[in-house]
């Protein structure tokens, strides 16, 4: 209490000044019509501003939750897509719903670490073998392919992205169906190279490349990129492919679990 009085004594001038100004201000906004109206408008606007700002901030805090819900929903939707189903039908003419069962499952994951400017680039995601992720699973994102799982721990996985000198994936032209092997030349994170296209294939700039199932990694039909330019190299065409995935801003990815992968691998390994 003594300190309070000492404080008031020490700062009496500034305190009195503020008290008088506040009294005057209250008089102004309570007993003068134009000022009163104006103050009402200002305080309403101020309240509105505060309200919208708080709403924006709270919405931002819910964003993570909303994203998680959306990716879970997306994973469900992907599973219901035609290309995720394994065709059980022996007779092609028998087209019933029971003819299809799930072939691909999608595990949503968040990107924790990412690089795109090294010769060999990897992504770390927040899901591991606890969540059912295993080596050699493919990884996609809404705009296209991302890479292959190369290592897993209990809670995390390491993905070798397309931007890696070790990466090879079999792709095909969406319109003509010709296939070629896609690899990355290590220069530009937007451009990959498609090699060994036979000379008789008609290539147009802008042609869409999608994955095919030859490499037993990706579901077929996933977007890879578009042809940016092409040139002749020895007896083949080579093409620069503008990747559809922007590796500088991957946020959420889907790890693709192929339920029939092992069966196919065992079969294919018998003849090698």
């Amino acid at each position: 209490m003594r300190d309070l009085f000492a404080f008031i004594g020490k700062h009496s001038f500034i305190l009195l000044f503020f008290v008088l100004q506040i009294v005057s201000f209250i008089l102004i906004i309570n007993f003068n019509e134009p000022q009163k109206t104006r103050m009402g408008v200002v305080s309403n606007a101020f309240q509105g501003r505060i309200y919208s700002v708080t709403q924006k901030i709270t919405r931002y805090f819910w964003l993570d939750f909303a994203n998680q819900r959306l990716v879970a929903e997306n994973a469900k939707l992907y599973e219901n897509q035609g290309f995720s189903k394994f065709d059980h039908s022996i007779n092609v003419s028998r087209v019933t719903d029971t003819a299809y069962s799930q072939q691909y499952e999608y595990i949503p994951a968040k990107v924790l670490n990412n690089s795109s400017n090294k010769p060999n680039n990897f992504i770390t995601i927040n899901k591991g073998w606890k969540h059912g992720i295993a080596k050699n699973m493919s990884v996609i994102c809404p705009s296209g392919i991302v890479g292959i799982v190369v290592r897993t721990s209990k809670n995390f996985s390491l993905i070798m992205t397309v931007l890696n000198s070790q990466f090879r994936v079999s792709t095909k032209f969406k319109n003509s169906g010709y296939y070629g092997s896609l690899l990355w030349n290590g220069e530009n994170y937007k451009i990959a190279t498609l090699e060994e296209i036979p000379l008789h294939v008609i290539i147009n700039v802008g042609d869409t490349l999608v994955t095919n199932s030859y490499s037993n990694l990706f579901p077929s039909g996933i977007m890879v990129g578009t042809i940016e330019s092409f040139y002749q190299k020895d007896n083949f065409f080579s093409a620069n492919v503008l990747l559809s995935t922007d590796f500088k801003r991957i946020d959420y990815v889907y790890v693709v679990k192929d339920l029939y992968k092992e069966e196919r691998e065992i079969l294919e390994n018998q003849v090698q």
């Binding site: 008088l20 005057s24 003068n32 103050m39």
Partner: protein
């Protein structure tokens, strides 16, 4: 004691002059001279700042009551009184003030008085016009009226110091 009665008479006469005469002069447009500020300006340099604030508030309230602009004048006058010590410090002569100095034209000269009065009146009128309009829109018109009013008030106060408050 003699001083107190002298200043009381000056205070009452200036407030009455303001309320009865100057508030009723139909000056150019909406501007009118605020002679009552002269009281705050001529108080001795050594006056306690607390007393200065209280006197400023009192005179502001009285003028407000007369023209039903509650709070507008008291706010501006208290603002001016609060900044008066700072302005005096800025304009202090090289040797400083003596304890019995009063900030008058007759004592410190015309150019010093002009600077001192203009600064104080400008602070008062800027605050006054913003309290009146209570908005930052239409600044140009407000600004012109404010400048004219500052000039008019300064002119009236200088005249009063030349002819009335000689000592």
């Amino acid at each position: 004691m003699e001083n107190i009665s002298r200043y009381t008479i000056i205070f009452i006469s200036l407030i009455l002059l303001q309320i009865l005469v100057f508030n009723n002069i139909p000056a150019i447009g909406m501007i009118s001279p605020y002679i009552y500020l002269a009281f705050i300006l001529i108080l001795p340099v050594s006056i306690s700042p607390i007393l200065l604030l209280l006197l400023a508030f009192l005179s502001g309230v009285l003028v407000d009551l007369s023209i039903t602009s509650y709070g507008v004048h008291s706010f501006s006058t208290v603002m001016m009184a609060a900044l008066r010590p700072t302005i005096l410090k800025i304009l202090a002569p090289r040797i400083g003030y003596e304890s019995n100095n009063t900030p008058l034209l007759s004592h410190f000269g015309t150019s010093w008085a002009l600077k001192y009065i203009t600064l104080c009146v400008a602070i008062h009128h800027i605050s006054l016009y913003f309290c009146f309009t209570f908005t930052f829109s239409d600044l140009g018109f407000t600004f012109i009226r404010m400048l004219l009013n500052i000039a008019l008030t300064v002119f009236v106060i200088i005249l009063s110091e030349i002819f009335v408050f000689k000592k």
